[in-house]
């Protein structure tokens, strides 16, 4: 979680490169001899807090990933052997595969669902404001509470219901099925994350001028054609933002899994964040710190690639 948010935060200034350099040029006359210290007052305290609470602990973590430190007691340097061992650990590899497949699947589903909801909520339907409010409720609920409620539904309500309907494949909890448990996790994550994406899409849809639709109507384009040729290209920037932010967030998935399956059944739904966190309680601090460093580098790489894509699209985050 912290890793991805850190990536998001460090990434943001780079994305704003163009607008700031443009405004710097106009302000250059005024501040030729002396820069207004107010700017420093804005930046330095935040920078100091950021450095102290995020950068420094991260560096301490990197430092300890080179030791056999358990979080307490004696320790010594062991070089890179934690890193070497990570690559030999199939449980860690499995958690990486699960996390990436999960993040990909969830990103796709969230965006399809959110876009559909946004289109519906943007149309002139009855009780629009009321319905919008209902759709945004999941966003304000704590993920952990939501997942415990769903846990109960999946384990008790759904099996009873399915048994009564005579549909045997779902008559046992899908959380207890090693092959299906991840679907439950995707479902709950989508339920929780879709409203956030919907807001962004709604903002996008409202930025599309109604004249283009009027023109399309005159040309005789159907509503599906209008969506495909007008709406989608015009809100593409919002789609890119949603995909990127969503994917980053889902890579750090943790609390919904804890509430639903606890990483089980068996090892089926262990996310990377869960493995890393297990190091704190498991006396495996330095080993999982090495894992965290590797995961940080991977998410950093993904962020850089995504930023490149954004800049090519001309979208600024």
């Amino acid at each position: 979680m912290t890793i991805t948010s850190r990536v998001a935060q460090t990434a943001r200034p780079a994305g704003r490169k163009n607008p700031t350099s443009a405004s710097a040029k106009t302000g250059a006359f005024r501040s030729k001899n002396k820069i207004d210290p107010t700017y420093y007052w804005m930046v330095v305290p935040v920078l100091a807090l950021f450095a102290f609470f995020i950068t420094l602990p991260a560096l301490v973590g990197v430092f300890f990933s080179l030791t056999n430190y358990a979080g307490y007691g004696d320790w010594k340097f062991i070089g890179l052997s934690n890193y070497v061992n990570i690559f030999k650990d199939p449980a860690v590899l499995q958690s990486y595969i699960f996390t990436f497949v999960f993040a990909l699947a969830t990103t796709v589903v969230v965006n399809v669902v959110a876009l559909a909801i946004a289109l519906g909520l943007n149309a002139k339907i009855k009780w629009r404001t009321g319905i919008r409010t209902v759709f945004f409720i999941p966003m304000v609920l704590s993920a952990l509470i939501v997942s415990f409620v769903f846990n109960y539904l999946f384990s008790n309500t759904l099996p009873v219901l399915m048994e009564r309907l005579g549909y045997t494949p779902l008559a046992t909890s899908i959380l207890a099925n090693e092959n299906l448990a991840w679907i439950a996790i995707v479902l709950v994550t989508v339920w929780q994350a879709a409203p956030g994406a919907t807001i962004i899409y709604l903002a996008g849809l409202q930025s599309v001028p109604s004249e283009v639709y009027e023109a399309a109507d005159l040309d005789g384009a159907g509503s599906f054609r209008q969506f495909l040729s007008l709406t989608l290209p015009l809100i593409l920037g919002y789609l890119v933002i949603n995909v990127i932010l969503g994917f980053k967030g889902f890579l750090g998935t943790y609390e919904i899994i804890v509430g639903l399956t606890g990483g089980g059944p068996g090892m089926a739904t262990q996310s990377v964040a869960m493995r890393i966190f297990s190091g704190f309680t498991g006396g495996d601090y330095s080993y999982q710190m090495a894992n965290a460093v590797i995961y940080f580098l991977i998410t950093l790489l993904i962020s850089v690639i995504q930023l490149r894509l954004i800049q090519r699209r001309g979208v600024s985050l």
């Binding site: 307490y72 207890a176 090892m267 309680t281 006396g283």
Partner: protein
Amino acid sequence: MRHLPARCTGLRTVSATPLSRRALFKAAGLAGAAAVFPLAGCGSVPSSQNGVTTLRFMQNKPEVVAYFNQVIKDFEALNPDIRVIQDFNEGNFVPGLVRNDPPDVVTRGFAQATADFVRKGVFADLSDLPAAATIDPKIQDLVSSWGRYNGHETSALPFSLAAAGVIYNRDIFEAQGVSVPTTWDEFVAACDKFKAAGITPIYGTFKDNWTLGQGMFDYVAGGALDIADFFARLTGKGAAISADAAESFTSNFGPVLPKMLELASFSQKGATSKNYADGNAAFAKGQAAMYLQGPWALSQLVAANKNVRLGSFPLPVTNNPADTKVRVNVDMALSITRNTPNMAAARRFVSYLLDPSVVNTYNEKNAAFSPLKNAPAVENPQITGLAASVREGRYYQGATTYFPPSVPLYNYVQSFVYGKNSEQFLSALDDEWRRVAERTAV
């Protein structure tokens, strides 16, 4: 909570207002040094005010807070110069160690994780405490078998010994005319009889994977193998372990695992979606004849149905009744942290806790066994069935307790019960064990 000296926080230096660049660097450097050497930074300060020493006592069982509140009250009445604060959130212990500010007196369940603290020298030596001599050496051995700091120290004194077996519903057993089984075949026959009568033989709570680990996995392995000896040989082998070695899980556990699956098959339909709380509620209502749980479930069961008549017996895993052993764990062991500034007060408190009136009463109330040499015989009908095994020393510490917490053992056990692939399960355990040995050996 005790206040830390200002130099320990470090934070204050950064947020101080005059932020010259030099001051900032200095602060960052200080904070960096403090963070990199977490144990060197702040020393412990004796916490006494007006001649009253404040002890922090962290105990590991939230359900017995009331009992210890009473004990502390009695202790403070006898020792007006000591004040004891109880903390029952065990999760604070490691953070306390990291801050170099752990509680003074600790109780912990004794297993691999606690043994690791012992090996790292977190606890003080208690061997010269007079109360240490009153403890049954066999039970003290359960603690020492995990290794001693410096090879001879006594880092923890057992306070409560929990024995776990099969909890059974006496009414159902009597109604079906089934007596307590003493061999595996008798046990299977009893299960078949219940099944034929339409009664679930064993209530399964597979969703909570720890119940599978401490239940059928530990019972079957412990009943059939010499667990302590197995792990001693396995640990001796270190990182050189492989699946085909004589010391491996594959070579030793392979023959006994089918019995686990047999136990699982006696569970109710839909056991995979039931958790521990569901199981307690259902078993208390008489929805099954037996329940593979330890004494910690007893109070929950009685809370759910105060009329339920319960008993326990050790699960027989072989057909020789003399082989039957019971799973025990030192549920609470008393330790004093090595660097406590209040050593004298802490020792007085620990001695008081090991007074027969305190320790025996506790165990009597909580369906556990007292670790004292001349403890009275247990009379609680819920656990009398286990007393003979405990008295004669026919017991083992569960195989799950030997695993380092970094191995997600319960997940593996659950995988095995669901997928029934014992080869995959055991080779995964061998691999995990080897990897942990590789990275902790250096």
